[in-house]
Amino acid sequence: MKNAAFLLLTAAFALGLSACGEYSQVANYKPGSYQGKSDTRPWEAGQFAGNKQAWEAALANRAQSQNEYKRTH
């Protein structure tokens, strides 16, 4: 009887612990793509017409204008 209760308790404990298993709850996203409606990338249409380097350069340039130390000196 004692043995059975011990076994039962151990089993319940192991079962309880198994619920603590950690797994990623975040869906697997590939950057820029998902199951839904697809999006055009920023450099693909409009003024940059697929020229990614020009787009990156324009954005980097713009970012530096936030640094007034660079603007004034």
């Binding site: 869906a27 996203y29 055009t40 990338r41 003024q47 954005l59 713009r62 970012a63």
Partner: protein, 217 residues
């Protein structure tokens, strides 16, 4: 291209709400929806600090994890965007977001009656053709595809709000923090405008000297 991020310098933010206004104007955001807002800690108390908050485009975004229709996606630049066609307005993302970024046009209504979620897009539009009318109506203007940065950061008068590539933005902030040396009043506030601590000390010494002289008369 690395990850796009916002960074708000609380030493510089003067709570002017220029970023909020710029955002509203740029995207013609409806009444009641605030993609960006300024939060002030210890409002009215000397030494209060303000920061501008919106969607922070989390690297591991909780809104993306909880969305039952899986309407969120992340662009190559690390901007968290969503597809309004798939949004059912359940509000799970609102509860999951630590910044209160997701907004609903019908406010706190019953489940399913809130309307489609609206949030900061880092001025990168959404899953529609870049610069199209549909994109503007659903998500606002796509400044990123025009080679521009978000309107809020570009409009910030004190350049407290920085936006762009995380490495570039953190370099700008690091440079700034090193130049000003200290935080708090010593950086930009009272002591910078009205004298440094040593000057204040000199003034106190002068005052005690004057008082002594007056006492001697």
């Amino acid at each position: 291209m690395a990850r796009m991020k916002f960074l708000c310098d609380s030493e510089r933010c003067i709570e002017c709400n220029g970023c909020v206004t710029a955002c509203k104007n740029e995207h013609e955001v409806p009444w009641g929806v605030n993609r960006r807002r300024v939060v002030t800690v210890n409002d009215g108390v000397p030494g209060e600090k303000s920061i501008s908050v919106s969607c922070m485009h989390c690297s591991d975004a909780p809104c993306m994890a909880v969305c039952p229709t899986d309407c969120f996606y992340k662009t190559d630049e690390g901007v968290v965007l969503h597809n309004k066609d798939a949004c059912i307005g359940c509000g799970y993302c609102f509860f999951a977001c630590p910044f209160g970024a997701p907004q609903f046009p019908n406010g706190p209504a019953a489940f399913g009656a809130r309307g489609k979620m609206d949030k900061c897009t880092f001025c990168a539009g959404g899953p529609e053709e870049n610069g199209s009318k549909e994109e503007f109506e659903k998500y606002g203007r796509n400044r990123i595809s025009e080679g521009k940065l978000p309107a809020c950061a570009e409009m910030c008068s004190t350049k407290a709000l920085l936006a762009g590539d995380a490495t570039v933005v953190s370099d700008i902030f690091r440079d700034r923090a090193l130049r000003r040396g200290k935080a708090g009043d010593a950086a930009w506030g009272w002591t910078t405008a009205y004298g440094k601590p040593e000057q204040a000390q000199e003034r106190t010494q002068e005052r005690t000297r004057e008082q002594k002289q007056e006492g001697g008369k």
